[in-house]
């Protein structure tokens, strides 16, 4: 299982790839839409985090997990259910 720090790093790297920028600053409780993510970007962020962490989040819906804190909790729940 990934740690919160590993997950945060993956999200930030994923955000940089999705937004095509070299640096991005976001707090754990800051909404992804506040840094310019639309729904398509959100889907791609899920794909990037899966690749970076080597996990499969299945039918994951980022709309209910729109910041790092909630994304982490939801991803952790999905992965732990997979055993």
């Amino acid at each position: 299982m990934f740690s919160k720090d590993e997950f945060r790093s993956a999200v930030i790297e994923g955000l940089k790839r999705v937004r095509d920028v070299s640096e991005i600053k976001i707090r754990d409780d800051e909404s992804f839409s506040d840094v310019g993510l639309d729904s398509l970007d959100g889907m791609n962020l899920v794909l990037e985090v899966e690749t970076l962490l080597g996990i499969n989040l299945g039918e994951f819906d980022l709309s209910g997990a729109n910041d790092i804190n909630h994304f982490y909790e939801k991803a952790k729940e999905v992965v732990s259910k997979q055993g």
Binding site: S39, L40, M43
Partner: protein
């Protein structure tokens, strides 16, 4: 570079497959690690540039491969032409089995992307019978284009109405195609 596109059938938008074919035929032959994404629907012709677009440009989409990025931009020129588009011919030529579809190398008159879009759209419509959703091709990510026959495997529904399918050549996963419901 500017386009002179035609709208397919009775659609109320310019098909992403037309844009993709334009790029592959004229600007990015035999691409590797390719990705195309569409941001908005349009009924206008598009311009294509490898330069960074002007700040007031309206992006329709973006194409990327190992050789760089092509920006797909909206123009004010409304597309006046329409062409018949018998997409059902693709569906008839393919074999559907549950979440999989086998697509032959040749369906006369249809490109790779036209076959892929027609097949996955058919799969999504079959999975959602009676629903009045439109399923639109929004993104493609592939290592390379298949050389001939390929298959499509529905993988999952993601949030916000997105759907993902794998594109396979034999057992090799070449990448994924993404649709959105409108």
């Amino acid at each position: 570079m500017k386009s002179d596109f035609a709208i397919k059938g009775s659609r109320d938008y310019l098909s992403g497959s037309i844009i993709f074919d334009f790029i592959i035929e004229r600007m990015a032959k035999d691409p590797r690690d390719l990705e195309i994404v569409f941001y908005k629907k349009t009924l206008n012709n598009c311009s294509f540039t490898r330069e960074t677009p002007a700040a007031d440009a309206v992006p329709v989409g973006k194409y990327r491969d190992r050789d760089g990025t092509i920006h797909i931009l909206d123009t004010p020129e409304v597309i006046r032409k329409r062409v018949d588009y018998p997409e059902e011919r693709v569906v008839q030529a393919c074999r559907f089995e549950g979440p999989m579809a086998a697509v032959p190398a040749e369906v006369p008159g249809f490109s790779f992307i036209e076959k892929l879009v027609a097949v996955y759209k058919q799969m999504l419509q079959t999975m959602h019978p009676g629903e009045k959703h439109k399923f639109i091709f929004v993104q493609l990510k592939l290592k390379r284009l298949p050389k001939g026959a390929f298959s499509v495997r529905h993988e999952r529904r993601l949030g916000n109405g997105f759907f993902q399918a794998a594109v396979l050549e034999g057992a090799e996963r070449l990448g994924g195609v993404f649709f959105n419901e409108w």
